[in-house]
């Protein structure tokens, strides 16, 4: 009993922090979403689901939702694919590997606002670096209005976001790859397994949990993306690059409609919870086994 009581004491500081920094803001967001919140005097009246209905009736909501879904799927897919390729490459021993690893990490270390501005200068239609380079090497026919045409702008912002986000996944996957015992590969090679078979039957199963975790985190991050889009296009042209993160910001701080902004945030939170539940389901088997094996008790 004493041991159990002491255990709770150990987790008390973390619990207090969690309640203050996560539970309370989430609770406030939820209460704003179902009330007609007024800034003056912090007053509010319960309105049920009215804010949710109002948000969905907004002229641009469906477009924003569509953009967000494409954004999440494409960024996460390409970030993961690129991260896996680079991680596999960096898992091979070669001279100068440490230097390449540092270079590969650079996009992640640059603040979003700085990288956003850099990409803005690169993608600038008229006198930008990309178009100037294309003209200089004789590929003038490939010159594009990178940020000035809706579809092209979406592609350009996606590219910048993939570039910026892949190193996080890469470093996580690389740490997983380094933990795979070498003898498993040696045994497979003796058995005549091809590189793709080794990847499929040894690499992937060994880092499955890490894959699930990084993809989950990256999906959540992609849903919340704001800064790089804000700097590159501000959501334009014509809302072509506007996703939920920016939409919430505009609702809150252009329209000062905190209740509707909170309603969208709650929808976003609901999606994140679904993703987390999915992650728990996918990793349940392994977690359960460890739990049972070690018989962890408080």
């Amino acid at each position: 009993m004493k041991t159990r009581y002491q255990g709770y004491l150990f987790i008390l500081p973390a619990t207090i922090l969690l309640v203050l920094l996560m539970v309370y803001p989430m609770w406030k967001t939820f209460t704003y979403s179902v009330t007609d919140f007024k800034l003056i005097g912090n007053s509010s009246t319960f309105v049920g689901l009215q804010n949710f209905k109002a948000v969905m009736a907004r002229y641009d909501f469906l477009n924003v939702l569509k953009n967000t879904l494409i954004w999440v799927v494409v960024t996460v897919f390409f970030q993961f694919a690129l991260a896996m390729i680079v991680a596999l490459f960096l898992n091979v021993k070669f001279r100068g590997r440490a230097v390449v690893q540092i270079i590969a990490l650079i996009p992640w270390t640059i603040p979003s606002v700085v990288s956003g501005n850099t990409w803005k200068w690169i993608f600038q239609t008229d006198f930008g670096l990309m178009n100037a380079l294309l003209r200089q090497i004789g590929l003038g026919e490939f010159v594009q209005p990178w940020l000035s045409q809706p579809k092209m702008a979406f592609f350009s912002v996606l590219f910048a976001a993939i570039w910026q986000g892949y190193p996080f996944l890469m470093i996580m996957l690389l740490s997983g790859l380094k933990g795979i015992p070498e003898d498993q590969y040696e045994a497979a090679m003796i058995d005549g397994a091809s590189p793709s078979q080794r990847f499929r039957y040894i690499t992937v199963p060994n880092i499955k949990n890490i894959i699930v975790i990084v993809i989950t985190l990256q999906i959540i991050y992609a849903w919340n993306t704001f800064d790089i889009i804000f700097v590159l296009t501000g959501g334009g042209p014509g809302g072509a690059t506007e996703i939920l993160g920016l939409f919430i910001y505009k609702l809150g701080f252009s329209a000062f409609n905190f209740s509707e902004a909170a309603a969208v945030s709650v929808l976003l939170l609901a999606f994140v919870i679904v993703i987390l539940m999915l992650r728990n389901f996918l990793t349940k088997k392994e977690t359960g086994t460890i739990y049972e094996k070690k018989k962890i008790t408080l």
């Binding site: 800034l39 003056i40 005097g41 912090n42 002229y59 641009d60 803005k120 600038q124 239609t125 008229d126 006198f127 930008g128 209005p145 940020l147 000035s148 045409q149 809706p150 702008a153 804000f230 700097v231 296009t233 501000g234 959501g235 334009g236 042209p237 014509g238 809302g239 072509a240 505009k250 809150g252 701080f253 252009s254 329209a255 000062f256």
Partner: protein, 410 residues
């Protein structure tokens, strides 16, 4: 005789005791009134970073109360203000521009000022700070947007400089003559969603020049012919006449300053804040300023006291000090909001005088608390016209009017 002397002594004693009592009472009263000095905080835009210590030193040396000026980036400033006021964490004084003012006033987040004379304060920003006969901000900056032009490029193309009473047709004619393929443009339109004030500085004067308006009696009037013509003129600069760079839908004033310095655009919009920058960076360019044809967009900044202010009297003391003409003239780094503060250097520089003269006839953007939201919507819809997503300006005007009216609660 002895009795008389005794009476004299008693009267003297009574007077002395009375005087002592009064002195003590007044002393006691003074000790109640004399509150301990406080340090008031002021939040302003980041461009005040270098000047803040100078202003602080000047105020602190002459006052019991002290001031601490903190500068923050303009992006996100209004969010910071609102969240801080609601959370009782805001500074005692906030520098609020003409677009933020109606919004904060409407939300009941600012305290009204008593006993302030209109005097020589600039009209546009004074109006933005007023509601229902009450004043919620004391202006310290007044400005307007006009056309900065590269005289060297005009000379090279053999084009006459803008005349004082030029029209938008003259402007277009000049812009066409100064455009050379995709290497040099006559003018640059600001279509970026990230810099809404640059968009309004161009579009509003064009709408007004064609007899249109945006909001009238709390109703959108963008679908009226005057407004449509103004919007069409703006779109045509890029899409029809191609006097503006191809990427204009994503450009703002910051981009055009670079293009201007590199000789890529001959004319760009800007306020008085562009003057010191051009004086420093464009020393090898012969440049000048011309007011926009017709009415320009007036803008400015006022000092406001949030409802969460802990030291409103001390805050008022600082604001009154800073907005005194002599102090304002000496310590402000943007064009002063008082005519009498513009008699001294650098404000009597001919270039500043030109901007000031243009500001006299300027007009304020809609003084409506929903304007910031409506403006964001307008940019999005006009971007759709620029990129061909919406077929015509008429259709965009109809959509904007409909959406704007919803925002206005109509």
């Amino acid at each position: 005789m002895r009795k008389k002397g005794l009476r004299f002594v008693m009267v003297c004693m009574i007077i002395t005791i009375g005087a002592l009592g009064m002195l003590m009472a007044s002393g006691a009263k003074e000790s109640v009134v004399e509150a301990p000095p406080v340090t008031i905080t002021v939040w302003k835009g980041s461009w005040w970073n270098n000047q803040a210590p100078v202003v602080e030193a000047a105020f602190n040396a002459t006052h019991r109360n002290q001031v601490d000026i903190q500068a923050y980036p303009f992006e996100g400033l209004v969010e910071k203000y609102v969240v801080s006021i609601v959370g009782n964490q805001a500074a005692d004084i906030l520098a609020v521009d003409n677009n933020m003012l109606p919004l904060l006033i409407n939300e009941g987040l600012l305290l009204p000022f008593e006993n302030v004379e209109k005097s020589d304060f600039s009209g546009a920003i004074w109006d933005a700070a007023s509601k229902d006969g009450k004043l919620y901000g004391i202006p310290f900056r007044a400005d307007t947007s006009g056309v900065f032009y590269n005289k060297d490029m005009f000379d090279a193309a053999g084009v006459a400089y803008p005349k004082e009473n030029w029209t938008w047709d003259d402007f277009l004619d000049i812009a066409i003559k100064l455009t050379k393929g995709n290497q040099q443009y006559g003018f640059g339109i600001s279509g970026s969603a990230a810099a809404a004030t640059d968009f309004e500085a161009e579009v509003l004067p064009m709408i007004w020049a064609f007899g249109g308006d945006i909001i009238r009696d709390n109703k959108m009037v963008l679908d009226e012919q005057g407004a449509i013509k103004g919007l069409q003129f703006w779109v045509d600069l890029a899409n029809k006449h191609k006097v503006s760079p191809a990427g204009a839908v994503n450009y703002d004033n910051k981009d055009y300053i670079e293009f201007f310095l590199n000789g890529r655009v001959a004319m760009m919009m800007g306020g008085s804040n562009v003057i010191p920058m051009l004086k420093e960076k464009a020393a090898d360019i012969d440049w000048d300023f011309a007011p926009v044809p017709g009415k320009s967009k007036g803008f400015g900044v006022a000092y406001a006291i949030p409802v969460s202010c802990k030291n409103p009297e001390a805050a008022r003391e600082y604001i009154d000090w800073f907005t005194t003409p002599e102090i304002l003239s000496e310590y402000t780094i943007r064009m002063p909001a008082r005519a009498t503060a513009t008699n001294n250097p650098p404000w009597n520089d001919p270039m500043y005088v030109k901007v000031m003269n243009a500001a006299v006839d300027s007009k304020s953007p809609p003084l409506n608390p929903r304007w910031v939201e409506i403006r964001a919507m307008m940019i999005r819809e006009m971007q759709k016209v620029l990129t061909g997503q919406t077929k015509s300006v008429e259709e965009a005007a109809r959509i904007m009017t409909q959406q704007g009216n919803t925002m206005l609660g109509n």
